[in-house]
């Protein structure tokens, strides 16, 4: 398995090669979630709400449907 050599600084900083940074969008200030799996560390880019809006929706709902759902929930809640 090919990989990159990442060095660790005195305070735990990880020095990543430029090629790796550009491949995964490791920009200054970006955040990653580090997951430990045995003796492996998996770095997963932390999504923001902006990233959510960059992705495609899987369905569309109408304002009318939202309103209808509100009416049904309200009825259920108030008649319990």
């Amino acid at each position: 398995m090919s990989g990159y050599v990442v060095k660790v600084g005195k305070k735990g900083e990880l020095y990543t090669p430029k090629k790796l940074r550009s491949q995964i969008g490791l920009d200054p200030g970006s955040e990653f979630i580090a997951v430990l799996r045995g003796d492996e560390i998996i770095l997963r880019k932390r999504k923001t709400i902006i990233n959510l809006l960059e992705e495609d929706a899987i369905a569309t709902i109408s304002e009318k449907e939202v309103k209808k759902e509100r009416g049904m929930l309200e009825k259920e809640l108030l008649e319990r």
């Binding site: 495609d56 569309t60 304002e63």
Partner: protein, 152 residues
């Protein structure tokens, strides 16, 4: 108008759960532009529950909906830009003040909570007709015009 914070009605949290809305002129890319310009967005916890109920129904027909809702909620609730409002005493006080307006229960809760921010983005026609209640209630079209987005 330089809006820094905005309170969202349930319709406007659906896109964060991979569900688009049929509001005229709405698109995910323009919405992204709006959200990027804001410092904070506020939502009621009751809106998240409403959104979940709606997505459950859609999920009966489309298998990925429940999984995507959870993914969206995980990102949404962890984002520093998002403030999720629980129902507190000050909200209840406002709710009681709004009782004479004859609003439906959920509308009144969301309106009461939005009064701490001072504005509310909604497409609800009853809410949009309200005036002089201490909350500026706007729809998508007005928001774009006032923020100067999309040549409005």
């Amino acid at each position: 108008m330089k809006l820094r914070e905005l309170y969202l009605d349930t319709t406007y949290i659906m896109p964060f759960f991979y569900l688009d809305i049929d509001v005229k002129g709405f698109s995910r890319s323009v919405y992204k532009e709006v959200i990027e310009l804001l410092e904070r967005i506020h939502v009621s916890e009751i809106s998240i529950i409403e959104a979940k109920a709606k997505s459950l129904k859609i999920g009966r027909k489309r298998s990925k909906v429940n999984e995507k809702f959870n993914e969206g909620l995980s990102v949404f609730s962890a984002d520093e830009k998002v403030v999720i409002h629980g129902y507190r005493s000050k909200d209840d006080k406002k709710f009681n003040e709004f009782l004479p307006l004859g609003l439906c229960f959920f509308d009144a809760v969301i309106l009461a909570q939005s009064s701490t921010v001072g504005n509310l983005l909604t497409e609800d026609s009853r809410l949009l007709r309200l005036e002089d209640i201490g909350v500026k209630i706007i729809n998508w079209d007005t928001l774009l015009r006032e923020m100067g987005i999309g040549n409005k």
